[in-house]
């Protein structure tokens, strides 16, 4: 497997991992996995020094600390929906007129929200999951030596970042980070923020490489 494929698969993994944590409360296995994987813990630098995190058993940690914070940050205070941030009214817009949904549909994807508990297709985690599908298109094109399609897939990623994910995600993650009461969700917001910014740079650099 060449480096390009490896790196893009890593991007998909990162998007998958972060979106999972942003979309629902963390579950036992996942948290255990994070706890026991040092390289993953590197993504949570403040959490690594958080005493409660180190002392409490995993179940209690979830029930008594993390789920409470998840509810406070993501369900009660800082709604993780683009329409809330971008509309004057601040309402969630789950209808067909939602511009993010339009983007998905106009790029050949439909969405089944029954698989999640989110209320609208412009949830930050869903937008991050969309990036996985776009990277998939890019990798498919690359493996078929279809440069034209590969460029198209990269351009779509860039466009989606610019028009949607990055446009509001940065502000959102900053707000959510400041609202977080646990180092775990503080770290999650910070890491996601940094990842998105760095990934945008990576998309641009890949586009430059491939169009030379």
């Amino acid at each position: 497997m060449n480096e390009k494929i490896r790196e893009n698969q890593a991007r998909q993994n990162m998007y998958g991992f972060l979106s999972r944590l942003l979309i629902e409360e963390v579950d036992y296995n996942l948290l255990e996995n994070i706890k026991n994987t040092p390289s993953l813990m590197e993504l949570f630098p403040n959490t690594a020094n958080w005493e409660t995190f180190l002392q409490k058993d995993t179940k209690s940690l979830i029930d008594e600390e993390l789920n409470v914070d998840f509810t406070t940050v993501f369900l009660l205070n800082v709604y993780p929906y683009e329409s809330v941030f971008m509309n004057d009214e601040g309402h969630i817009n789950p209808s067909l007129t939602n511009p993010t949904l339009q983007f998905y549909l106009e790029h050949g994807y439909e969405i089944d929200l029954n698989k999640t508990r989110v209320l609208s297709p412009d949830h930050i985690a869903v937008e991050m999951e969309f990036m996985i599908t776009l990277i998939n298109d890019q990798l498919n094109a690359y493996s078929m030596f279809n440069k034209e399609e590969e460029i198209k897939a990269l351009q779509t990623q860039k466009e989606f970042m610019e028009k949607h994910l990055l446009k509001w995600g940065v502000i959102y993650l900053l707000a959510a980070r400041d609202m977080a009461e646990t180092p775990f969700y503080y770290d999650l917001c910070q890491t996601t923020l940094e990842f998105l910014l760095s990934d945008y740079e990576y998309i641009v650099s890949q586009l430059q490489e491939v169009t030379v």
Partner: protein
């Protein structure tokens, strides 16, 4: 703030292997890739509907027979009989969508067992509608004409006495007659050979090259009964004649009486793209007085009164302008507003007419916007609602949708809005296109593109395979096709041919002005064209065709019988979708794709090693060999006819059809189409890499897509080669030295100083621009002003009754002003039924079965109640012309009260009502009688006296035993759709030519009453003396004839379609 670099991040996430699997998987592709299946040898139960065998197996594919399963009760009991197929692609011929087909040919019997879609065809993507699959029923039609027929010596046209003849005899007789005419060589002779065609379904072969190579101005099309008004407004506005909407990516789709499944051009292809768009959230709006299938599914149905759609368009523009919510950037860049605002004389004219209150002193864009606000101030929503007779809130909703959709609006306005109404061009291509233009929705993704951007026309480009390539411009101007009363007509006034031939007074009037107009057509070909049935005033056609002083030799080229065939000299049975060659491309999406229609049995035989005796008659030989009959194809016929006309080459015709590879021999289809397809650069390059010829590629796959995502062609720079120091235009390199820039227009200065516009300058670059004289979207058409129609030079419409009288040329002949009697209605006869297409579907038993009905007259429930009409009642529909007040006749139809048509408007599709005057034809020496349209027409009795015609049904459809293709036609004995097949309306309608475009305006004012005891459903009565008076009134009271500026017959920039006419014939003869 960035804590890590990108690479560090990715290194760190190495630990998140499988992280992607944590995602919820909420996304799914909406469009499955439509690909030929891979690695599958045999499929009993395909897992998806668009399954196709792997391409490399197409020459030898085995599949179980469907009927075997039924007979034997399931698979594998005694083993399954496998059919040994060869799969050959072709293109459907049942409508203009040109969807891909594949013929599945049983190699043991050499019969086609089924037609399926073609997965290589990027337009239809492997899909077909009922008409596509019905190609098989047409191929093995029990009433198929099995050999060429000739009118029996001594008999008269219409007596229907026929003898069997041979193709050789037909070629010799027709060729000799044409030679005699052409040898005269005078101007008149070049107007006396005419090839008249319905929907040809091909790109160029017959359309251009055949008639052109004869050197005559004799190509006559059906366009003026179909789409001239649809085209004219677009030609005036953007210089192209047909919109090509990007439905699939659109946010707002506006279908103006033109429906994907009922009336639009491209049926299932467009329907599929619209469905794709709606799945993505697009809104669908249908404007139509009748609730079509599309209207039933729309987000908004606006049942506007016929012909008032223009008011809705202008009201939308008015509000967009007033609120300054239009796309200013696009309008400022691409409208010819500078030309308009600087023509103060014209602005004064508008002020005099009361449309403008103030003439701006400046010439800025802001001044233009101020003029727009002033000009359109009276077109309020309230005014439009009153004019269209609809609730005003419908317009509010439409406006909201327009704002939401922005530059992603598509519109199709091809059918009733255009073809139904006088001035329909203003409601369709003029204001409809303008509305989209104001939103910037022309050209981009999700917007509306153009025919010429998305179509490949190569059918006439096989010249490289012949001794001579391109014929010279034709030296004649045929007034029988381009009469001077309609100098700007979009295409020929074809439906007026008998009127023009039989009108000595008209001919003499123009002869006095120096025109040379023949009083007879010596040789007349009619191909896929049935004027007696489809044209208005059909009995005028019957009278003209029967008159041998008006029509010399008449040849009907058709796979099946038709009403016109009864009145001709020859009936030549031509091939259907899978029996002829054609290159066929259509603008169904923002791509350039083409299909290759071909005789599939011939191709299969050739692939299996068969060789024809005469390679130039291979299709005919193949069809005889496999028992299809003496069925030929037009392409080979016309190539051979050129040799029959000009055996020694002295007329200069033969060289255009003589093979370069085999001098002295006719060019073969393989040679011709290989040369044509070689003109496609990408296809040629691929074929080079593959080591095959472009012909072979197309023969094997049947379709090719040369370009995708074809958007914004007007913005594309002309290719420039610094080495050549030349720009590329229309495939040719033009040296910089021959280019001249005047203002923002770029011209090619040809030898002799003739200049030709090739582009416009934008941002310092030469770009394509639009094909109008200004290179821009013409809000203001100086052409219309110069050609005597100044009042219609901008998008406009009368605001009140007084203005409607003055501006009658753009007011529908069925406007509600004219509905003065309590039983007066507007009749819409031109909606299509999705399973029937004009003349072409009567020979498909499957389509007749699903299409069987009594073709009712739709009438609004409360209107019916008011007149005491109940479901199933016979009603007399009296046709009244609103210009003259003349009543021309009536037809008797069956009423069906419904809510699916608006109050005051009735509907009855003229796609039904086929008739025959005989059941069978007896041919001396042939054991069987030839059946005549027995599955989809009624036997009628026609009585006539002094121009008064009365037709009554004697007998409907009934079961019969077929001698032809008996295995395929066992079920004709079980025909159950007995009785009538609908009512024939067209003959009752007078010819009503639009004063500008020449379009026959189909809608009619009718008076409806309950039929009397002596009337029967299906009766028609018409007095053709009265239709004659009406036609002459429309011609003489409404038109403004040529010549125009510079003594021209027609504006030079509106090129004559098909082939060039020599410059000197564009002008009126000097007095």
């Amino acid at each position: 703030m960035i804590r890590t670099t990108r690479r560090n991040f990715l290194k760190g996430t190495a630990a998140v292997v499988g992280g992607a699997a944590l995602a919820k998987g909420v996304f799914e592709k909406t469009q499955a890739d439509n690909k030929v299946a891979n690695n599958q040898e045999l499929t009993f139960e395909p897992k998806h509907l668009d399954y196709y065998p792997p391409f490399e197996k197409w020459n030898d594919w085995k599949e179980p027979a469907g009927d075997y399963w039924k007979k034997e009760g399931g698979a594998l009991r005694d083993g399954v009989k496998l059919i040994n197929y060869i799969i050959v692609p072709t293109v459907c011929n049942n409508c203009e969508a040109a969807c891909g087909l594949t013929a599945w040919i049983d190699k043991d019997t050499m019969t086609v067992r089924k037609f399926m879609g073609n997965p290589f065809h990027s337009g239809s993507m492997g899909r077909n509608c009922a008409k596509g699959y019905a190609a098989l029923a047409q191929m093995y039609d029990p009433d198929r004409i099995p050999f060429p027929l000739k009118r029996a010596p001594g008999s008269k046209r219409g007596e229907n006495k026929w003898v069997r003849t041979t193709w050789e005899e037909a070629l010799e007789t027709i060729g000799k007659k044409m030679r005699e005419v052409l040898q005269r060589g005078d101007e008149i002779s070049k107007k006396q050979i005419m090839y008249q065609v319905g929907r040809p379904n091909e790109n160029g072969f017959h359309v251009r090259r055949v008639v052109w190579s004869w050197g005559v101005d004799g190509r006559n099309t059906h366009t003026n009964i179909c789409s001239s008004n649809g085209r004219f407004g677009n030609i005036v506005t953007v210089g192209d004649d047909r919109t090509s909407p990007d439905f699939a990516n659109s946010r707002l789709i506006i279908l103006v009486s033109s429906h994907a499944a009922d009336a639009g051009h491209y049926y299932q292809q467009h329907a599929g793209y619209i469905a794709d768009a709606r799945a993505k959230g697009a809104k669908l709006v249908v404007i139509d007085p009748r609730m079509s299938n599309s209207a039933g599914m729309a987000d908004l149905w606006i049942p506007a009164w016929p012909g008032t759609e223009v008011a809705i368009n202008l009201a939308m523009v008015s509000r967009l302008v007033r609120e300054e919510k239009f796309n200013k950037k696009f309008v400022e860049r691409w409208f010819n507003w500078k030309q308009f605002i600087s023509d103060k004389e014209y602005l004064s004219y508008l002020k005099e007419k009361g449309f403008l209150t103030e003439i701006p002193s400046g010439d800025s864009f802001d001044d233009f916007v101020a003029v727009l606000k002033d000009l359109y101030k009276d077109y309020t929503f309230e005014w439009a609602a009153q004019e269209a007779k609809i609730p005003v809130n419908m317009l509010d909703k439409l406006y909201e949708m327009i704002l939401w959709a922005g530059d992603r609006i598509t519109q199709y306005h091809w059918r009733a809005v255009a073809a139904g109404n006088r001035g329909g061009w203003m409601g369709a291509g003029r204001t409809g296109t303008m509305l989209m233009a104001f939103m910037g929705a022309l050209g981009g993704p999700g917007g509306t593109g153009w025919y010429k951007w998305h179509t490949i026309s190569l059918g006439d480009k096989g010249g490289d395979a012949c001794m001579a390539d391109t014929p010279e411009p034709v030296k004649a101007w045929n007034e029988l096709e381009w009469p001077p009363e309609w100098p700007m007509s979009s295409y020929e006034l074809s439906y007026l041919l008998p009127h023009l031939l039989m009108d000595d007074e008209w001919r003499n009037r123009w002869k006095e002005k120096g025109l040379k107009i023949p009083d007879k057509v010596e040789v007349w070909f009619s191909r896929i064209y049935n004027p007696v049935w489809i044209n208005p005033d059909g009995f005028r056609w019957v009278e003209a065709l029967k008159d041998e002083d008006k029509f010399g030799l008449t040849i009907y080229m058709s796979p099946n019988w038709a009403e016109t065939a009864f009145y001709c000299d020859y009936i030549l049975p031509m091939g259907l979708a899978g029996e002829r060659h054609d290159q066929h491309s259509e603008p169904t999406k923002p791509e350039k794709w083409t299909g290759f229609r071909q005789p599939v049995l011939r191709v299969a035989l050739q692939k299996m090693g068969w060789k024809p005796n005469d390679p130039a008659k291979a299709t005919l030989e193949a069809h005889k060999k496999v028992g299809l009959g003496e069925i030929w194809e037009e392409d080979e016929f016309f190539v051979n006819l050129a040799f029959a006309i000009d055996p020694d080459g002295s007329l200069g015709i033969k060289k255009y059809w003589e093979s370069k590879n085999n001098p002295g021999k006719p060019v073969t289809m393989e040679e011709y189409y290989n040369a044509a397809f070689s003109k496609l650069p990408k296809l040629s390059q691929l074929c080079q890499e593959m080591g095959i010829t472009p012909y072979e590629y197309m023969r094997d796959r049947g379709a090719w897509t040369e370009a995708t995502d074809v958007y914004n062609v007007h913005e594309k720079p002309l290719p420039y080669d610094p080495d050549k120091r030349a720009y590329q235009y229309d495939g040719k390199w033009i040296p910089e030295s021959e280019i001249k820039i005047e203002g923002d227009l770029v011209y090619h200065i040809e030898e002799g100083g003739k200049k030709h516009k090739i582009g416009v300058v934008k941002d310092g670059k030469i770009v394509n621009g639009w094909k109008t004289p200004s290179g821009h979207i013409e809000f203001y058409s100086k052409t219309l002003k110069d050609w005597k129609w100044p009042e219609y030079a901008i998008p406009i419409y009368p605001r009140n009754k007084e203005e409607r009288k003055q501006m009658i040329h753009i007011v529908s002949q069925v406007h509600h002003d004219y509905m003065t009697e309590p039983n007066a209605f507007a009749l819409n006869p031109i909606f299509r039924l999705p399973y029937l297409v004009h003349t072409r579907s009567v020979n498909a038993k499957w389509l007749m079965e699903i299409g069987q009905n009594h073709n009712p007259l739709w009438i609004y429930e409360k209107d019916a109640q008011r007149l005491g009409i109940k479901r199933g009642d016979a009603v007399k529909v009296r046709v009244v012309d609103t210009l003259t007040g003349i009543e021309t006749g009536y037809f008797v139809a069956m009423a069906v009260p419904t809510q699916a048509t608006r109050p005051g408007v009735v509907a009855c599709s003229h796609h039904n009502g086929r008739w025959r005057i005989i059941n069978e034809v007896k041919i001396d020496g042939f054991e069987h009688e030839l059946g005549v349209m027995r599955m989809g027409s009624v036997l009628v009795d026609i009585k006539s006296q002094n121009g008064k015609y009365f037709m009554r049904t004697k007998e409907g459809v009934k079961p019969f035993r077929s001698w032809q293709f008996p295995e395929f036609n066992k079920d004709t004995e079980q025909i159950w759709w007995k009785g009538t097949t609908g009512v024939f309306q067209n003959a009752v309608f007078p010819a009503n030519p639009d004063p500008l475009s020449g379009m026959h305006c189909w809608h009619k004012k009718v008076l409806i009453e309950k039929a009397g005891p002596e009337d029967k459903i299906g009766d028609i009565f018409v007095d053709i003396n009265k239709t004659w008076e009406v036609y002459r009134a429309w011609r003489d009271q409404l038109t403004r004839p040529a010549p125009g500026p510079d003594n021209l017959r027609r504006p030079k920039w509106m090129p004559r379609p098909w082939f060039p006419i020599a410059d000197e014939y564009w002008k009126f003869p000097s007095a």
